[in-house]
Amino acid sequence: MGNTGDSSGPCEATHARRIVVCRLHVNGEPVAVAVPAHWTLLEMLRYQLGLVGSKQGCDKGDCGACTVRVAGDPVLACITLAVACDGHYVETVEGLGVGGEPHPLQRAFAERGAAQCGFCTPGMLMSAAHYLDALAVADAPIVSTDAIARALGGNLCRCTGYTKIFEAVAEAAHEVVDRSALLAGGDL
């Protein structure tokens, strides 16, 4: 906010808003939300649905704190229009656990101290979850340093130096690979 030189900021039409209705699935639940047409997915999640787990770190697509999954893909909710998600499945950190159980990534993050201030954590988790899912369906899943760095390279963290985050993701990824190996009947 403020007149800090970004004249493209709040639009002139702000006071004459067009409201649109979006129908989508959020964390498995079908919802219909009426939002101003210019709102982003992040605004809809935070202000309309009360899902404040997804964070706003920059509002410009630079930090990754707002990362959620739309149709399975990691998406920067701060630069995605809410209307663009009409008809899609959206998943946020609030929906990450399965059946009341924490997601393996959440467990690994908690145990390895990968969440320090925690502000980047929801976005990190969503990017990492996408990476794990991709790994689970890969033909020959291998956990690699570069692949993890690529998967999380768009998520900034100022606290951890990434060391503990990397460890946590690698640990959860190894679990996925082990499980795939089991399912495939291969040797561990």
Binding site: G2, G9, K60, F109, F119, T145, G161
Partner: protein
């Protein structure tokens, strides 16, 4: 090319941490239990300021359009329905006949003098020169002029662009290295915000010092520059204020005529700093102002002083709007308007004998303070004291100045002046080593201070430092000797074959003073309270904030081991000045060490009171010694049974005497500091460190890749290895960012040109290696169970270690950071 390397993970540290020097095992301290705030953070349940349920108005700030001048008019343009807004300017804030407060002295004596008529519009800090809102004269671009509040978040942001601030401009000064022309002077006679002189040996006398230099076989000069740096906490600044006016004032416009109550919640490091600021702004007694910290998404110093200003703005708007008001900065505003690390230029002249032994150091330090005094005097102080490094130098003269420039004030940032001067000294020692044909590690080994040696302030080192042994361990960890010789060959071959890669290793040895400088801790007189709660849990009440470093977890560990209880028996209270005593700010690597020690002592006091009052059987053998756990205090506290203690706690909850335990800071013996002569014991203890970097530079693009990084430090007992490793790795990567990527560029009006995270580049996971963190543990007698501070130390070393490695790789001088590709290209071309 992606490598498909199988990854071997370090073991999770659930086992006691084994340092090289084994310390007695404790049930909690020294182990790595899960963070107390961990589950909420990984499930998205933690609520930060903008996540809290909120029914109220939203605030926005209109700022100055130029660097210096006088506001001549404010125009409200067509568009917004201005009658819907709460609008605040400096005219709304009175100059009061009488303050109810004495000036704040927690930063040392106030420099503004104390007169009774006070302008409430002035931020209460070391000097009283910075307004909350510009009255007419202003000193930097993006200084706040008008505040707006409106029920709609979008509309207020849009309306802020519809306010035009007109001004007459005045000459500006943007370069801290040059003395001002008369028409650029805005502070005192010369724009010097603070000057400090430090002298040792012949440094006391200019002629004598000249004689030492004249007689010295090797004299090396150098000038070193470090740039500004944005704290870049991922959660931007934000505050919520609520005001309850008295019945008299409720329907009366204008400044309240009767006392009123204020509550502020927000993202902040230091609740009592904000408390001091707001009670002065509102001219209210202590008890009518409440400041509460909300879960905070990183601080790094950026939420030390600046939150007072946002809190003040939110309070002023809430008074006007008669509504709770929330101000959340967006990233651009946060980067444009809030503080940065002080840019610094250090000129060094050293005298050495032919073996590389330092004979004398002559230093001139100039920091860029920005437009107001804010915290520059204390930043300069830490920078000055750390300028001579952990070296025994017989003769020292350091002259340091913080200069006014017309940029937003520079403020607190992890390291607080020390990383700047340490960069200069550590880079300079490599230049000296080059001159002498010595290994840089060897030059340091010959000069590192030993037990009984003296630092530049005359402080005699009494703790059992073994810097040479620690240096050796660091060198071995990175394979220093082999790498240096292999890389020389590798580089020669690359050159011979016309190939672009160059490699190098570099190191830095340094120290960081723990806690406030000099008499700072005595002036703070921090207090801590623990209290018994009805559910049998003991609540820790301090003003020290969890900002990611794990403060809540280590306080719980310390209390549990001080009492012989489990972590579930301890609850750490979220800081709120209505609930917790003033245990000082969460800064200066002091929380775990100074306040952790207070927590342990307050626990002891609680038990003593329960014993004295008869609630707990009097069976304790003797007072506990937290620093050196012995049989009497083996972490199982005294000789009571944990269950007896739990029962007693539930019983005494709410009891006026037995229900609370208290402690107050007591300086360790011998900590005596002369703030005028700059002599004595500057810090009760230091963290000591050896950092080493291994880099590769691609000379085609001048991109620097850090291949390996070793951070070895002695920080007393490590309370929680996992957290400590995480905090240090975070500091190292922040330091690598400062060294290589993070460049603040200013426009002609002193405003940040690249105020966004696209063009101000932070390190990502793809940019950094896994940081290897190693510890030495020598328990410190006045920290909890022997702990020292670790927060800032890791910011000091990466800059010089990486710059030294790059200098070796490219065979050129690296006199400044950030060492961006453009600069590296220039320097390497110059030297070729």
């Amino acid at each position: 090319m992606p490598k498909h390397s199988p990854i071997s993970l370090p073991q999770r540290s659930t086992q006691p941490y084994s340092a090289r020097q084994e310390l007695p095992k404790l049930p909690h301290v020294g182990r790595s239990p899960d963070r107390v705030d961990g589950v909420d953070k990984v499930t998205g349940q933690t609520q930060y300021t903008d996540d809290l349920p909120f029914a109220g108005w939203y605030g926005a700030t209109v700022r100055t359009p130029a660097a210096r001048g006088t506001v001549t008019a404010v125009r409200f343009l067509e568009g917004p329905n201005w009658s819907e807004f709460a609008i605040v300017t400096a005219k709304d804030v009175p100059i009061h006949a009488q303050s109810v407060h004495a000036p704040d002295t927690s930063h040392g004596p106030s420099e503004g003098g104390h007169d009774t008529a006070v302008d409430l519009n002035i931020v209460q800090l070391i000097a009283r020169d910075q307004p909350y809102l510009v009255r007419d004269a202003f000193r930097h671009k993006h200084e706040p002029v008008v505040l707006l509040a409106h029920p709609d978040r979008d509309i207020v942001a849009w309306a802020a662009t519809k306010v035009l601030v007109l001004c007459d401009e005045l000459p500006v000064i943007l370069d801290h290295r040059v003395d001002p022309r008369p028409d650029q002077v805005q502070h005192g006679a010369d724009n010097v915000l603070k000057a400090i002189g430090l002298r040792k040996g012949a440094g006391e006398d200019d002629a004598q010092l000249d004689a030492v230099f004249a007689a010295a076989p090797v004299v090396v000069h150098g000038e070193y520059d470090t740039g500004a740096q944005e704290q870049a906490y991922i959660e931007p600044q934000g505050m919520i204020a609520q005001v309850w006016l008295s019945a008299h004032d409720q329907h009366r416009p204008g400044w309240p005529s009767h006392p009123f109550r204020v509550r502020v919640q927000g993202s902040l490091q230091c609740p009592y700093y904000v408390h001091t600021a707001i009670k002065h702004l509102c001219n209210l007694p202590d008890e009518l102002v409440e400041i509460a910290q909300v879960a905070t998404g990183g601080g790094f110093g950026g939420k030390e002083d600046f939150p007072s200003i946002i809190a003040g703005h939110a309070v002023l708007l809430a008074m006007k709007a008669r509504q709770p008001v929330k101000i959340i900065y967006d990233r651009v505003e946060d980067m444009l308007a809030t503080t940065k690390r002080h840019p610094c230029t250090t000129y060094l002249r050293t005298a050495m004998d032919n073996t590389g032994k330092l004979l004398a150091l002559d230093a001139r330090v100039r920091m860029d303070g920005g437009a107001y005094v804010t915290l520059s005097p204390v930043v300069l102080s830490r920078g000055t004291i750390h300028a001579a490094g952990p070296y025994e130098i017989p003769h020292v003269r350091i002259d340091a100045k913080a200069m006014l420039t017309n940029t937003p004030p520079n403020g607190a940032f992890r390291g607080f002046g020390a990383p700047q001067t340490i960069f200069a000294m550590e880079r300079h020692l490599d230049v000296c080593a080059d001159r002498l044909g010595l290994d840089p590690a060897e030059v340091r080994r010959r000069n590192l201070v030993q037990v009984g040696g003296t630092l530049a302030t005359g402080q005699v080192i009494l703790e059992p430092v073994q810097l040479r042994a620690w240096l050796d361990r660091g060198l071995a960890a990175i394979d220093w000797v082999d790498k240096r010789s292999h890389y020389k060959v590798f580089n020669d071959l690359q050159v011979a074959d016309g190939l672009p890669l160059r490699k190098g290793v570099g190191l830095a040895t340094f120290m960081h003073g723990c806690g406030f400088t000099g008499s700072g801790e005595v002036n703070l007189a921090s207090k801590c309270k623990v209290r018994a709660a009805k559910d049998g849990v003991i609540e820790i009440c301090t003003a020290n904030t969890e900002i990611g470093q794990g403060a809540q977890t280590v306080f719980a560990q310390v209390a549990a081991d001080a009492l012989g209880l489990e972590l579930q028996d301890i609850r750490v209270i979220q800081p709120d000045t209505a609930q917790v005593p003033n245990s000082g700010p969460t800064v200066a690597s002091r929380t775990a060490m100074v306040v952790g020690h207070l927590v342990a002592r307050a626990c002891d006091d609680l038990v003593r009171r329960m014993e004295d009052g008869g609630a707990l059987a009097q069976a304790r053998p003797k007072a506990m010694d937290y620093a050196r756990p012995s049989k009497q205090s083996d972490g199982r506290g005294g000789s009571w049974q944990a269950d007896d203690l739990r029962q007693a706690v539930a019983q005494v909850a709410g009891h006026p005497v037995m229900g609370e335990g208290w402690s107050e800071y007591e300086p360790p013996p011998g900590v005596i500091w002369d703030d005028v002569a700059y002599k004595g014991v500057a810090y009760g203890t230091y963290g000591w460190a050896v950092y080493l970097a291994d880099v590769q530079v691609d000379t085609t693009t001048m991109e620097v890749k850090v291949l390996d990084f070793v951070a070895l430090q002695e920080v007393g007992r490590v309370l929680h290895p996992t957290l400590a490793i995480g905090q240090i790795a975070g500091g190292v990567v922040q330091g690598l960012g400062w060294a290589l990527l993070e460049e603040v560029t200013l426009d002609a009006q002193g405003a940040m040109k690249n105020a966004n995270l696209t063009s101000y580049v932070l390190p990502t996971m793809a940019d950094v290696p896994t940081i290897r963190v190693l510890f030495e543990e020598q328990p410190y007698a006045y920290g909890p169970f022997g702990a020292k501070g670790i927060g800032e130390l890791p910011m000091d070393g990466p800059g010089p270690a990486v710059a030294n490695a790059v200098a070796m790789a490219l065979g050129c001088h690296v006199p400044a950071i950030p060492a961006t590709p453009e600069k590296l290209l220039r320097w390497s071309t110059l030297s070729a």
